[in-house]
């Protein structure tokens, strides 16, 4: 088989042992790489008895068979672990160049176990892998660490900031200085291991089974990316925040902790506003023709971002319309290693609790002046920040107000109100890592008309679309490619690309089936952890409080009607447990409890 490098690296931080191993080719064929391979390895390594912040948890960094092939967006990689925020299986993926470099260092996967006695960093070069003292780096920000470890041509740095060191449950891992493995608290797991950074070098080439066929598929994909206004105009011109006005217009932009679905200052914080007032230039990840990244400048500094979800979480969700303040808050989250989405949404939750008199402090919606102090307090666990560092669910429950955490399975929800996008609500409720718009996104069919427009408030039939989009996303996360490429390029192109690269024949149906296998494996993992049907739900507000005004006025989520159809579509029983027949179809029968 070509495409995979055939090698993994296992590092035990407790013992200092470093061992290169052969990749299990059968697992690679069944789970591809990235999220799929990570979930399969995690299944064997981390059981329900393991505390996510204990040395027994692992971090599994995976590339995929398309990584570093120069197929469009083939820069990505993922990290898999048990989440300290949700207790679920968790993978988070990121772009930039680090993933490409990890593959070129000759690795399909890097597994980190144990806990070092003192802060260390891992360096992987053509000469081998070694652990080095990181005492001098502990406490430093992401930009400082990245610079000090020599990020540059041929050498890529991945690290945590102070938030990860302080075991903040919404801490992320950053790579290449500004890209984020954002969700679920992966940074806290890395911090719990006393691992500050992983530096990779390497120039190994990926093998191709059929280079000419690969060239043709890539050429055809380039036509789609060029023809789509989304990937050739909207994303390059306005970045991901280009979608903000659109979501606001239809009445699906969660505002003030989901109390409203439209934000009166949406235009002030939109992608258009960023382009007009802050944009210095656009930038792109390795091998990406889209270039959605924003390099921006405020009165105080230059930085990367903000992304749509960051603008929303630190903006509309907190009732803040000051774009400069939001942008600087986003920069700061990146510097300190915090997930912008969970950080903004947790602050929004605290604002609502304060306005309701549940907590006694001066937090109020719209208080942009408090953002910087709050973010620092979270990262360093100071004052109220120590409570917010636990994420919105634990924070709200501490104050007897769990219902005001707008989360699913403890992961804060993204920037689409499920009452105005019925399929999106089902997607959040059933997502294996908690509420997530990247585990399949109904933005395509419900808003953008991709591949075809389906009424956003339609209920019947949404289950099937959600299943298909979830399975496709799981496959794409296992290849590992960017979801934005998939907004123009259909799965049939990815199937042909991976076939051309690996020499293993994947039809479009086979590729989706890999995604279905991954989804069911993740489901089995969560069931083993004790999750049940009762966890496939949404916050009470979204099920019972109708949207107060705007185009979605009067709507609540019709989740209960969709959930039964969803389970039937998946071949699960009424409790959401995969049937034996389904597991046999997917080759997972040996993993069932």
């Amino acid at each position: 088989m070509q495409g995979w490098m055939g090698k993994t690296l296992e590092v035990d931080l407790s013992s200092g042992e470093i061992a290169f191993q052969q990749l299990d080719s059968n697992l690679a064929r069944l789970f591809l790489g990235g999220r799929g391979l990570g979930a399969r390895l995690l299944w064997d390594m981390v059981g329900p008895e393991v505390d996510p912040l204990s040395p027994d948890n692992v971090l599994i960094f995976c590339t995929g068979p398309l990584t570093a092939t120069a197929f469009q967006t083939s820069n990505r990689f993922s990290v898999t672990t048990k989440s300290p925020l949700t207790g679920t299986v968790l993978d988070s993926n990121s772009g930039g160049s680090w993933g490409m470099r990890l593959k070129r260092s000759g690795l399909d996967a890097l597994v980190i176990k144990g806990r070092a006695d003192q802060p260390v960093y891992l360096e992987i070069t053509p000469e081998g892998a070694s652990l080095k003292d990181a005492s001098h780096l502990w406490g430093k920000t992401v930009p400082e660490t990245t610079l000090e470890l020599g990020q540059g041509p041929g050498r890529n740095v991945l690290c945590i900031g102070p938030a990860g060191e302080n075991l903040v449950r919404i801490a992320d891992i950053m790579n290449d200085g500004t890209r984020a493995l954002g969700r679920g608290g992966v940074g806290a797991v890395m911090g719990s291991k006393n691992l500050k950074a992983v530096v990779v070098e390497g120039e190994e080439k990926v093998g191709f089974a059929d280079r000419q066929r690969f060239r043709f598929v890539r050429y055809e994909a380039s036509k789609q990316l060029t023809a789509s206004p989304l990937t050739s105009q909207a994303l390059p011109q306005f970045g991901t925040a280009g979608v903000l006005n659109l979501v606001n217009i239809i009445g699906a932009l969660p505002t003030r902790n989901f109390q409203q679905a439209q934000f009166e200052r949406a235009e002030d914080i939109s992608g258009e506003a960023i382009a007009e007032s802050l944009l210095v230039r656009k930038s792109a990840c390795w091998a990406c023709p889209i270039a959605c990244t924003r390099i921006t400048k405020t009165a105080h500094r230059e930085g990367e971002g903000p992304e749509f979800e960051s603008v929303w979480a630190l903006g509309a969700d907190c009732g803040i319309g000051d774009l400069e303040a939001i942008t600087e808050a986003s920069y700061l989250c990146g510097d300190l290693g915090l997930d912008t989405m969970s950080t903004g949404a947790t602050i929004a939750c605290a604002m609502e609790l304060a306005e309701r008199g549940i907590i006694d402090c001066d937090l109020r919606f719209g208080r942009a002046d408090l953002l910087e102090g709050l973010i620092r307090a979270i990262a360093y666990r100071k004052g109220i920040g120590d409570e917010l560092a636990e994420g919105s669910r634990r924070f709200a429950e501490m104050h007897g107000a769990g219902e005001y955490s707008m989360s699913v399975k403890g992961l804060e929800m993204p920037a689409y109100d499920p009452r105005g996008m019925q399929g999106q609500g089902l997607l959040y409720a059933t997502s294996n890592r908690g509420a997530c718009h990247m585990r399949g996104n109904m933005l395509g069919p419900e808003v953008l008309g991709l591949p075809k427009l389906v009424h956003r408030l339609q209920v019947q039939g949404k289950a099937g679309m959600v299943v298909l989009h979830q399975d496709a996303a799981a496959a794409i996360d296992s290849l590992v490619l960017c979801k934005f490429a998939n907004m123009a390029v259909a799965e049939e192109y990815f199937a042909r690309a991976v076939t051309a690269v690996t020499g293993v024949s994947y039809s479009t149906g086979d590729l989706i089936r890999v995604g279905e296998r991954v989804w069911n494996l993740e489901r089995l993992y969560n069931l083993r952890e004790g999750f049940t049907r009762a966890d496939d739900t949404l916050p009470r507000r979204l099920l019972e409080e109708p949207v107060p005004d705007g185009p979605s006025k009067g709507w609540v989520s019709h989740l209960p009607e969709m959930l039964d159809e969803y389970y039937r579509f998946r071949g699960w029983d009424e409790n959401g447990v995969p049937t034996q027949r389904k597991l046999e179809e997917l080759g997972l029968q040996d993993l069932a409890a």
Partner: protein, 203 residues
Amino acid sequence: MIDEQVFRQFQEIGRDLYVAALVSSHGGNLSMRFGDRVVIKRRGAMLGRLKEGDLIDTGLEKADSGVLLASTELVVHRAIYRATPALAIVHAHPRTAIALSLSRDEIVPIDNEGSYLLHKVPVVAAEFASGSAEMVERLPAALQEYKIAMLRGHGCFAIGQTLDEAFQWVSCLEESCQIILAAKSIDEPFLEYRKMSEDYKTW
């Protein structure tokens, strides 16, 4: 119960198929999958004039009384849903595509739109080409790889997330086939306008 918005989608696509001459008065059929259920056109109903009662709701895996009324091709639709990610199926009788399927194992569009959207369409053969075991075996296999496939001498089956997506592949295929036919009648050498033209056959 079939949602009103869903019924309207069947009506609109059915009407468009008939108006575009992609089916005869009582030919072709449409279906959608909902969980473990399939909604399909009633046997004998006219796609161009679908009305209340013309859609049958039956099981994906298990037969029930719905099969008494369902389209002849129900067995094929079920097999396609079981084997592919399809959420909707359009079966039509595009005339030029059927004519070309008689002499070809695959149809490779030569026009820009067809090349861009379809690349290549496989032709599968079945001795008995209506609701047969051979179709059940061969069509789902082809539709794992391609979004539309021709059944030699009979018609096409297209899949999509929605009926209108599947309809697009049918409409596009017939247009491409008409262009192939027109180009043959003009009978002049083609000037190259696509890079890697020969590679479309490998799709």
